[in-house]
Amino acid sequence: MESAPDTLEIAGRSIGSRLLLGTGGFPSLELLADAIAASASQVVTVALRRVDPSPGRRGGALIDVLAEAGVELLPNTAGCHTARDAVITARMAREAFETDWVKLEVIGDEDTLLPDAPELLAAAEQLIDEGFVVLAYTTDDPVLARRLADLGCAAVMPLGSPIGSGMGIRNPYNIALIREAVDVPVVLDAGIGTASDAALAMELGCDAVMAASAIARAQDPVAMARAMRAAVQAGRLARGAGRIPRRDYATPSTPDAGRAEFAPRGAHVG
């Protein structure tokens, strides 16, 4: 059915799945491992937090699980509210995980966790200058997305709605505009609630979808991981197939020509 392999490319690297997985919120590492397998994701996010010195909580177990799963790590700067903190966190992530890839998050509001645009731009510029491959978590503003791409971000990651809200894509029009506005991959990040949201993102032209809470906090995370995987594939195929235009009225799918007439028009069947 597909002639050429349809792989996602970010910063020159081929990634075999268009579903990226966040590791936050899984009730156990076992479920995380099973969900990674079911999702077929090849890139997963990981955060940096202070070492908890109590026995058995030193963070090594997570690294082991992710290494076992054979996935690439995408460190994030979650929780950073200033460009300065995000830059330092990215530098620490590079040291900890031996990757110069970073999912850049700079948060501007506690309730909505919406990005802080000026701090985000400042951090992106600094990190790109230091050789990082920056995937920028951003609002669904096409102008901001273009600014980030112009700075040299390897991908833009617009939100569908606030992190963990499960509200889906609140402004599909803007997501489609972002796809037109930038030449780098667009990864729909945040707000995905269920499989149809992921499919819609792909139908709008996104190159990939990032899901975290939608999978981790589902009643059955492994089943939801499988559903998201299928949805991303379905949405991608539908985008390529080219959907029919929306119309206000019906268009018959069966031709009118050759239709039988059993009685004069207007006569009652008796």
């Binding site: 966040g22 590791t23 936050g24 919120g25 899984f26 995380l32 996010t45 990981v46 955060a47 940096l48 937090r49 202070r50 070492v51 010195p53 026995p55 030193r58 963070g59 090594g60 997570l62 690294i63 992710l66 995408l74 994030n76 979650a78 300065r84 330092i88 966190t89 530098r91 620490m92 992530a93 040291e95 900890a96 995980f97 999912k103 998050e105 975290a212």
Partner: protein, 67 residues
Amino acid sequence: MILLNGERSEVRAGETVAQVLGRLGLERDARGVAVAIDGEVVPRAGWDTRVVGEGARVEVLTAMQGG
């Protein structure tokens, strides 16, 4: 006084980063760990030689589920 991960610690000025990590139960070869002193990353290669000064803020971070 030296702040270790935001808390007053028993770390004394002159200790190496590796010694500080030891206080947290971390081996020198611990994976997924990064250290910053006063906001500046200390590369792994410097853990044995870099010492902590009085009044320093030391952050020792590791992998956590997130994002």
